[in-house]
Amino acid sequence: MRVIQTGRFDRRDFLGLGVASGIAWLLARRREDGARAGEGDSAPAPDRLPAGRAKRCVVLFMDGGPSHMDTWDPKPGREFQGQTETIATRIPGVRIAAALPEMARRIGDLCIVRSMTSKEGNHSRAKYLLHAGYPPNPTVVHPAFGALVSHEVGREGFDLPNYVQINGNNGESGGYLGVAHDPFVVQDPRQPIANLASPPGVGDDRLDARLRFLERLDRGFGEARGAEVPESRQVMYGRSRRLMASPLTRAFDLSTEKPAVRERYGMDNFGQGCLMAARLLEAGVPVAEVRLNGWDTHEENWTRVPALLSQVDRGFSNLVDDLKARGLFEDTLVVWMGEFGRTPRPNERGGRDHYPRAWSMVMAGGGVVGGQVVGSTDADAAEVVDRPVTVPDLFASWAHAFGLNARKTFYAGERPITLVDKAGSPVREFFV
């Protein structure tokens, strides 16, 4: 395990730590890297990064903007820290919120990024930015990253949707990639999928008879008025019918899961969403997003954040364990993030306000090196002092993790748009 907070000191610290932990293979890689770093290379060269290993991903999206100081970047002893308790991790000097004991135990799998920095400080714009990798632009709707993965990695003839969003949707879509890459939204993971079953009394035979007669009607319409309408409608009915018939939809049905497993994840919507995500990934879905609302803690920050963290701690840790147990962890990128951080200085109402200038996010699996902290903030978590990571950098890193060409150009109408904002480069520290 290692800590990288950039600069030579940390490299030395790391080497000491590596030897102490006795992780020989990692050590070897680090030495090599250290030597290269010593030569003073600055610009990260993507071609020199190890190839990405991600084949699928889970995004745990913390809607509302989680406080970085009260989660992954606490500043114990500082005036602005408030009542947040912290616990030590196995990385010397790295503490996180005490409400994350299970995550602390799994620190070896986590890449904590404490140096996120962005400029969008209002919810809808920032959520758009963190989903699309571009700020909102009234002339074009960018696809969410999940939709890009659906487009680039997803299988066209797959029974299940390629991008599933659990616990609601905030306007994220397939954008210029089209509705075929819109997220399939599960409003409540504890409920059955809406309209997935035929009405009572309409069995498979009857449904198929209906569809055959519909096709016949539509053929007539196509002959009279052109095939464009009926053809695209047939695609929609075909995909819907295939989903209805697919045994893979079991992945959506948590009632088939052992009660003990469900309880382990937590019976709240987030915990159940994490469980559903694990099941969907195993069934072949390349992207699942699980949302957790309630992070907009302008008031009661110190009671609300720990309550939310206890859900995160259960859901996230069980997800990591399950992905490992299912042999999926190494090629599954897990992302935990919100749309921004929160002001280090508390407001008068016992809360913290929006703060995009410095914040934290976490990754695990998918070839991202765990057991490390990337970047750091100053004494009050107000400014990034080391290794700033921008949102385009983050997206470029994900593209690298998936082996996607970040410069791939799409056309929204006649307007060229690259898969990732050209301002971004993969963050070297994530991968080596």
């Binding site: 309209n195 997935l196 519909l214 409608r233 695609v235 009915y237 819907s240 109408g413």
Partner: protein
């Protein structure tokens, strides 16, 4: 630079040219000259004459282009085809069985024009216009509390039914002040509350009302057009002083307040930030009209009022064209300029003289939206059949060209609102819904729309260009509660689902109860669901399909198939 050249002529010359062109086009030179100077809505009969003249102008201009392209247009639509098309376009729902029968039976000459007038006086017209404009102006509004959403749509529908003009709508939304509880028009401003003022509201205003995509110049000088960053900042600056705030910070239900700051203090302060220092984004740039003069704050009137005056001025080269183009696209599925909200040198109008004619007629009508509706609906171009002549199937490129020149009647998908309202109407559940308590209706409506409207709700372009549907849409239409309740032949299934409880009976029940003959049943179902009689072959196919299996089930299956058909789900 080309855009500047096109629109950059001295304002007077533009206005003069504008008037001339239309007077000639309408063949009403002379008598109209004096009146043209003073706006004001015409009475109905006069409006009708002008609309008929505009309809002839449409056919003349479209005809010229067809001839130049060597394309032979299709013949006229039959009465059933026309009735369904125009009813869906003006009311958002298809005609009822009784309406179809009566219209087909009528021998009255001029019955189509008469029907257009009746539809324009039907209260559902306002509802449908409210859906169309509401989606455009208040995108994302469905996230608001239900009572406020309802207020906004009711207010808009009322205005449309009262015959309020586009000048009314523009002024209401662009200059809105007061409390959201009392002024529904504030929904437009509130939509941008979350950090979108002034940039996004400025960009949206230019795009929606002027068809100018100046917001591209927010980040960079426009690559193809003359717009510079300064143009955008100047335009957005008309909204700089707008700052929606909660009426009561302690009570979220108290609504939001928007006020224009007192210009007296603002104009006096040396640093314009003085009064507005705590106003978000205040006074970073001086307001400047598009391609025009800098606006100086005055003591009387707000910046936004000055902007509305400028947009509505007769020499504004964009507003009338943009609005005429937008309304045209609702009828024909595409604009004369495409994209409908992106007028630039490389998106020239397909029928330039036609656009100018409609724009001028619209301006002269006192911005009467029904003028445009009449002009289009009465035209032979709109009344052509959408049935393809032999030989046009299969060649997509040729077909697209055929459609681009309006050689046949338009074929376009129903919007989400139209789908929802049409299903209710043809299944006979709309009455039941109206009788049910209001909040229950809104809840159900929201619940259902939510499942497939996200995409359309956020699509401000207002033209559904894609036919591709999503899986949730497919599931909803195949298995959803509306489809279930509407195609149920037996007694209520008793599952106590939300819709079933509201709609205890439906049209299918009634038809099966009243009509025992299979052929007559098929006929009625076709009239009800598709607005026409079936052909002989269709009738025998449908009857054979419906009478198979256990009693009632076949009829449910037939209704289901008709309801899900491309013919039902599109306007053609």
């Amino acid at each position: 630079m080309r855009a500047r050249e096109r629109f950059g002529r001295p304002a007077a010359a533009v206005a003069a040219g504008f008037l001339c062109a239309s007077a000639l086009a309408f063949g009403i030179v002379g008598a109209r000259a004096d009146e043209a100077a003073g706006p004001g809505r015409k009475d109905a009969s006069e409006g009708m004459l002008e609309a008929q003249a505009a309809a002839r102008a449409i056919d003349r201009e479209v005809g010229k282009a067809l001839e130049a392209e060597g394309l032979a247009p299709t013949g006229p639509a039959d009465d059933a085809e026309f009735l369904r098309r125009v009813t869906l376009d003006l009311l958002g729902v298809p005609p009822t069985e009784e309406e179809v029968r009566a219209f087909l039976a009528s021998k009255e000459p001029g019955k189509r024009a008469a029907r257009v007038e009746e539809l324009l006086r039907n209260p559902l017209y306002g509802d449908h216009m409210a859906d169309l404009w509401g989606r455009l102006l208040f995108a994302g509004l469905r996230k608001y509390p239900i009572p406020e959403v309802e207020n906004v749509f009711r207010w808009l529908a009322q205005g449309m039914n009262d015959g309020k003009g586009m000048d009314w709508l523009l002024r209401e939304v662009v200059t809105a002040t007061g409390n959201t509880k009392e002024n529904p028009a504030l929904a437009y401003t509130l939509r941008f509350r979350d950090g979108g003022i002034p940039a996004d509201i400025g960009g949206a205003t230019a795009r929606l009302f002027l068809g100018v995509q100046i917001q591209c110049a927010q980040c960079h000088d426009h690559p193809y057009e003359a717009w510079k960053k300064g143009d955008f900042a100047g335009f957005a600056a008309f909204f700089n002083l707008v700052n929606p705030r909660p009426a009561d910070p302690m009570d979220r239900k108290a609504g939001f307040v928007v006020e224009d700051p007192p210009m007296r203090t603002l104009a006096r302060s040396k640093n314009r930030g003085g009064e507005g220092a705590d106003i978000k984004g205040a006074a970073r740039a001086d307001p400047k009209f598009l391609g025009g003069a800098v606006y100086r704050d005055r003591e009387e009137g707000s910046r936004r009022q000055a902007l509305a005056d400028w947009i509505l001025a007769r020499d504004n080269p964009w507003f009338a064209r943009a609005m005429a183009n937008r309304v045209w696209s609702w009828f024909f599925g595409r604009g004369i300029v495409n994209p409908v909200d992106d007028f630039r040198s490389d998106t020239p109008p397909s029928h330039p003289a036609l656009l100018d004619t409609l724009a001028l007629g619209f301006a002269e009508s006192g911005w009467d939206l029904r003028f445009l509706a009449r002009a289009v609906a009465l035209s032979g171009t709109y009344q052509r059949t959408s049935r393809l002549p032999k030989g046009w199937q299969g060649d997509e490129a040729a077909l697209r060209r055929f459609d681009r020149f309006y050689a046949r009647g338009p074929v376009k998908p129903l919007s989400a609102d139209q789908v929802f309202d049409s299903i209710l109407r043809v299944t006979g559940m709309d009455d039941a819904f109206r009788r049910a308590n209001r909040s229950e209706i809104e809840r159900t409506r929201l619940f259902l729309l939510q499942q497939f409207v996200t995409q359309i709700d956020d699509d401000e372009s207002g033209v559904a260009e894609q036919w591709a549907g999503t899986i949730p849409q497919g599931l909803l239409l195949m298995n959803g509660p509306l489809t279930q309740a509407g195609t149920r032949a037996g007694a209520q299934a008793g599952r106590g689902d939300r819709i079933g409880a509201i709609a205890r009976e439906n049209t299918l029940h009634r038809i099966l109860d009243d009509t025992k003959d299979a052929a007559a049943r098929v006929d009625r179902l076709y009239l009800t669901l598709l607005g026409r009689h079936p052909s002989e072959r269709e009738a025998s196919d449908a009857a054979a399909f419906a009478v198979r299996g256990r009693s009632g089930q076949g009829w449910e299956d037939l209704s289901w198939a008709l309801l899900n058909s491309s013919e039902f789900m599109s306007n053609h």
